[in-house]
């Protein structure tokens, strides 16, 4: 099962194992990782699942689509590696993925 590591804004690491096909958002919520709120449950409507993809992984994860990119423009502290975690689906290619979480979602 792919492993995803979440690093909170104050540096705490949490490793979770998730079945391929799970979104990074669900990987967090299902395992009680705080820092991801995911109010809309993954509908790409709330932008409270913002995360920063570790630089080593940005290429493999790929870019946000247009809707997501527009939402990301308005999250707190947007960065080039910002993504909405509900829109990243974990697969075997992403085994070992590292994402960082912002201090606040809005």
């Amino acid at each position: 099962m792919p492993v995803v590591t979440f690093i909170s804004h104050d540096g705490q690491e949490q490793e979770v194992h998730v079945p391929a096909g799970t979104s990074v958002m669900h990987a967090a919520v299902d395992n009680g990782v705080s820092g991801i709120l995911a109010d809309c449950g993954g509908a790409c409507s709330c932008a409270t699942c913002h995360c920063f993809v570790d630089e080593a992984w940005t290429e493999k994860v790929g870019a946000a689509d247009d809707v997501e990119a527009q939402m990301l423009d308005f999250v707190i502290d947007p960065q080039p590696n910002s993504r909405l975690s509900c829109q990243i689906i974990v697969n075997d290619e992403l085994d070992g993925l590292v994402v960082r979480l912002p201090a606040t979602q809005f």
């Binding site: 705080s34 449950g41 939402m71």
Partner: protein
Amino acid sequence: MDSEHAVIIGASHAAAQLGASLRQGGWQGNISIVGDEAIPPYQRPPLSKAYLAGEKHSDELLIRPATFYEKSAIDLVLGTRVTAIDRQAKTVTLHDGGSIPYTRLALTTGARVRKLSLPGHDLDGVFYLRDLQDVDRIRAYVGRGKSAVIIGGGYIGLETAASMRKLGMQVTVLEAMPRILQRVTAPEVSAFYSRIHGEEGVNIVTDASVESLEGSGKVAAVRLADGTRLDADLVVIGVGVMPATELAEAAGLEVDNGIAVDEFARTSDPDIVAAGDCTSHYNPIYDRRLRLESVQNATDQAKTAANTLCGKLEAYHALPWFWSDQFDLKLQIAGLSQGFDRVVLRGASDTGRSFAAFYFGGDRLLAVDAVNRPKEFMMVRRALTTGMRADPDKLADDSSDIQQAFS
């Protein structure tokens, strides 16, 4: 004294958040969530959207997996209805005669559908849409080429219509008012949704007065007061919900269009909090009592309620927001438009599929309905949260940067 025991009645959005937030907030005692549905708390919004359209499996609906509750030492008591609250003895009575003692109680009983007592309402094939079970029953009746009549042109009715069109069905929406979404949007937004549903092949009938549902055993048609007869393999009624307040009322708690709670989610009994669709609360941004029906409110108010139970009083003042997905339209709403006296449009609502409607009360921005306009939604959510002011002329200028319209 016995150890603390928080009992949460209802097992849906608000309950799932309350339980998780209690543990996050350091609640040491027991936690039980008692709900009458058979499965752990699940996302309701996809019921009329991806789940009805067959694009999502029921496993994908769970807000958190069952293992989360185990790991968090939250006892899920499912398939169990609470029939009474005894505030003196501090126990809740269950439908099977059992009872559970509590030291603190949380009511997250949500809302129930408003029922219509039309002739023929008890025919097979006539449904309401609130629970997973409702949609599973509806799904047994859907199919390419079949006819559906949806009574009620609110968000849920329109989402249901869109999902059924995706399934290749003939769909009619009956709305009693002169326009769909009349209670919740400006005429321009109603006209937009009417146009799109028309373009997508949905037959929308406004000013419709339903006289009866016809059929023998199973529904076959809907009869309108003007004599029109619409074929129907199934009928879905979506005419709003009412807060589930009976338990609270019977227990003597204050009820005012929902279980009345203060800004800390406390009911009139200091040992009992409440959150979500079942409550009404005072909102400082809009300076009035509100009863909201949204995931945002269920989640945010549940966090407040959990804090309160953990002894940390933090007032609830989150900005209301909502979304609705129909066809390729992503509607995002920030704020509450009720009481608006002016609407400013950005982009065209009478052509295309992307625009935003800004609602003003005097010179104050109240809300936005943003259709395929995530920037406008995000900007207004931020502006209303931080108290920024909006310039209507700049908002209307679609060629200018949205941020320029706020100061």
